[in-house]
């Protein structure tokens, strides 16, 4: 029951999304901000950023403000289909892989399959867009005004934050009081503001009720994502998935640590029915363990269409194809050898106190593959009453203990509550073997779900600190000792 509830919660969290960090609520829409997705293409000094938009409210309340480093032209802005995000998400998401044990009493049958983490998102919205009002001059310049797809887009520049804030307020945007502490630095850094609203008539013409992702492209040495603006009106943490594409290799964060999520762990079979909930708790724990201020790597792979190596192991979704690349803004590569394409998927959970700076990235030549992968092993089926079969079951008993321990360590799920998982194996053992089992291995009860204690780094820091103190102390003692001539 608990698991089921958690699963539902995950679904809700994933659907309530928004591109975190970038929204400014209009009117009284409460639209923040659990998860957002961004495709980040970097080629030399060129950035192509696609922001996915799972906005779940009344479209007339939809508004978005993104700081951008240059004045965008109309041809720099386009609308792409949401499908590309779904495909990338399906391809790069953390995965479960299943293996099957052979029956030691019977001839072996080997096969392997995989199941995909249910991370699909749905969008639903309707209703009207509001007519755009004229801006008053508050030191705010409307640099350009574009109609792209269903969106009305303004490019603003401003001379100071009070004017910009006032302008936004006058135009019906809900701007939090603390926004000026972010707007000022952006204005002084010569950033422009990319302001987006929906035109209802044009949205109707598209025949869709969905707001499609917006893609912008520009040349700038700045390779970053402005997350601070979205944190101005959010107290909690927000999640962002970054799908990055480069010619050379992985993308990593420059001003925060980039670490891998735990991978290649053997977990209990029942995880399959609640993998979403499991991964959510696993991520929450990893996030805490690493100090809540790291960027997590979830996937890294060479996805060049002409690349002959394995595209994934296992693939939970089809690898992206030239059509998806074009949609994502990767305008090189293809089957004809236009250059390599390397895909990096990062997951960052950020909050105001742990992420004071906007995210800055760099492209590295690092082409090492990585995937977040959790392994299920199905037991052998059939009659296991032969001696080898009993031996196998005993091994299986201990293996399941370890799987429970792994589950507990990763996601904090209570082992005692799931003791049936090992008991059902024990019950299949002959009584004399059953009595010989090592009962000390039976796990105690424990936490059910995250918080995980931050363990290793703190401990090591202490160890290092103590070592230093000892050294300093010994050096001082050594210095104090009278020297013989």
């Amino acid at each position: 029951m608990r698991t089921l509830l958690l699963l539902t919660a995950l679904g809700a969290a994933l659907r309530a999304a928004a591109f975190c960090g970038f929204y400014v609520a209009k009117a009284d829409a409460s639209l923040f901000n659990d998860r957002s997705e961004v495709i980040l293409v970097r080629d030399g000094q060129r950035s192509i950023i696609t922001m996915s938009n799972d906005f779940q409210g009344n479209v007339r309340d939809f508004a978005m403000v993104v700081p951008v480093p240059v004045l965008l032209r109309q041809q720099d802005i386009r609308i792409v289909e949401r499908r590309v995000f779904d495909q990338l998400d399906a391809y790069g998401a953390p995965r479960l892989v299943e293996y099957y044990d052979d029956n030691p009493c019977h001839p072996p049958v080997m096969y392997e399959s995989m199941s995909e983490m249910d991370m699909t998102t749905s969008t639903s919205m309707r209703s009207m867009a509001r007519q755009e009002r004229e801006a008053k001059n508050l030191g705010v310049t409307i640099e350009a005004r574009y109609a792209v797809g269903e969106y009305d887009i303004l490019i603003l520049s401003a001379t100071e934050s009070t004017g910009l804030k006032q302008w936004l307020l006058q135009n019906g945007y809900k701007v939090p009081d603390s926004a000026h502490e972010v707007l000022d630095p952006y204005i002084k850094s010569n950033l422009k503001f990319f302001v987006v609203k929906v035109d209802l008539d044009r949205l109707t013409q598209t025949g869709s009720t969905l707001l499609r992702p917006i893609q912008i492209r520009f040349e700038s040495p700045k390779f970053m994502l402005p997350i601070r603006l979205g944190m101005a009106n959010s107290k909690g943490s927000q999640d962002m998935i970054v799908h990055a594409f480069t010619r050379t290799g992985r993308v990593e964060c420059v001003n925060y640590r980039t670490t891998k999520v735990p991978t290649d762990r053997n977990v209990p079979l029942f995880i399959k029915n609640g993998f979403g909930a499991f991964y959510k708790d696993l991520f929450a724990r990893a996030h805490r363990r690493e100090g809540q201020n790291t960027v997590f790597l979830e996937y890294a792979w060479n996805v060049t269409p002409s690349f002959n190596g394995m595209k994934c192991d296992p693939c939970v979704g089809p690898p992206p194809m030239p059509r998806e690349f074009a949609e994502a803004g990767v305008d090189w590569g293809g089957f004809n050898g236009g250059g390599a394409i390397f895909y990096t998927r990062m997951h960052v959970r950020y909050s105001r106190d742990k992420f004071p700076q906007d995210l800055v990235f760099q492209v590295t030549p690092n082409t090492e593959h990585f995937q977040a992968r959790y392994v299920l092993t199905h037991p052998a089926t059939g009659d296991l009453s032969c001696a080898e079969g009993q031996e196998y079951l005993e091994g299986l008993y201990y293996r399941r203990q370890r799987e429970l321990q792994e589950m507990n360590a990763l996601a904090g799920w209570d082992m005692a509550k799931r003791q049936y998982y090992v008991n059902e194996v024990r019950d299949r053992l002959a009584p004399e073997r059953r009595n010989g089992l090592d009962v000390t291995a039976v796990p105690d009860g424990g936490d059910d779900g995250p918080p995980a204690p931050p363990r290793l780094p703190i401990a090591l820091l202490w160890a290092a600190g103590l070592m230093l103190l000892a050294l300093i102390g010994s050096a001082l003692l050594g210095a104090a000792r009278p020297k013989l001539a």
Binding site: E181, D184, P185, K188, S189, S220, P221, K222, F223, T248, G249, E252, C253, V254, N255, Y256, R257, T258, T259, K260, G291, N293, T294, P356, Q357, V360, Q362, T364, P365, N366, T367, E368, L456, P457, L460, L461, A464, G465, M467, L468, L471, I472, S474, A475, L477, G478, A479
Partner: protein, 289 residues
């Protein structure tokens, strides 16, 4: 006989490089074990051993004292803390360049470049297979304390605390002026930037190499401030990452020239303040013909 019975502390204190090796090795272990750095330990071992092997070859060739192997160990550990590469050969290349430069790029009996710095730069610029991850340490007060305390112990011993402090203070002031005073970011943004582990390591364990810093105290302070200034400009104007490394490379390249100029000018600059006594007007009138 007496020499054989020295205490470990006395042994440690005999050479500042001992402390460098201990601290750098601790940081490396911490990075690999606690921070889960990407590369496997064999890579670090390879880089380290390449440094030692190249140094040993030159020691044999030039007939130098064997204790200079410690310098190579420091270089190897320092590079391990900063340099990442796709192929192990890139690491070997970087390490070989680093150590060989000490013997091959010499002006007036002194090597020009900071070996670790040059090795990293060569690997990154020439192979296209290497990179530096400025974010790999993260940021935090604990890091400031640990790296700072360890660093101070070492640089005080080699008499290069002025270099560290001049660099860090200049960089921090410039960054504060721009980010907090001018742009208006909160002080936490500045703190986050300044408590970056890579920056601190650079400050206390790379720039301070006594062999590749200018000899004169004043020149050295100006030199460190120059590095800070260049690093600041590169990062804020051009959005380049890991700028202290590039700034140090440039300033080391200028070292033979600057050393000469600074020493020459330093004497003139000692009294840039206006000379106090302006009374001898009378004398001037008197001496006029």
């Amino acid at each position: 006989m007496h020499h054989l019975l020295i205490s470990p502390i006395t042994f440690l204190k005999r050479d500042a490089r001992h402390f460098q090796i201990i601290f750098l090795a601790t940081f490396l272990l911490y990075g690999i074990m606690a921070l889960q750095w990407d590369a496997e330990w064999q890579r670090y071992a390879l880089l380290f051993c390449t440094c030692l092997a190249v140094q040993a070859s030159f020691i044999r060739w030039k007939g130098l004292p064997w204790h200079s192997l410690k310098s190579a160990a420091v270089t190897g550990l320092g590079m391990s803390l900063l340099l990442k590469a796709g192929s192990p050969y890139t690491l070997v290349f970087g390490a070989a360049v680093a150590i060989a430069s000490k013997f091959l790029l010499r002006v007036k009996g002194r090597h020009v470049f900071n070996p670790g710095n040059l090795g990293i730069a060569a690997a990154v610029l020439l192979t296209g297979d290497a990179w530096v991850s400025p974010g790999q340490w993260g940021s935090g007060a604990t890091l400031v304390f640990l790296v700072g305390a360890a660093g101070c112990m070492v640089v005080l011993r080699v008499g290069r605390i002025d270099t560290s402090l001049a660099f860090l203070a200049t960089f921090a002031l410039l960054d504060y002026a721009r980010n907090v005073l001018y742009l208006g970011w909160g002080a936490d943004v500045w703190m986050h930037r300044m408590s970056n582990g890579s920056l601190l390591l650079f400050t206390f364990f790379m720039i301070t190499d006594p062999m590749t810093t200018p000899r004169s105290n004043k020149a050295r302070i100006a030199w460190s401030m120059g590095i800070a200034f260049l690093a600041f400009v590169l990062s804020t104007r051009f959005w380049i990452n890991a700028t202290p490394i590039w700034a140090l490379l440039v300033f080391c390249a200028l070292n033979p020239v600057l050393d000469h100029l600074f020493n020459g000018r330093a004497f003139h600059w000692i009294a840039p303040l206006p000379p106090m006594p302006l009374q001898p007007t009378n004398e001037q009138t008197i001496s006029r013909p």
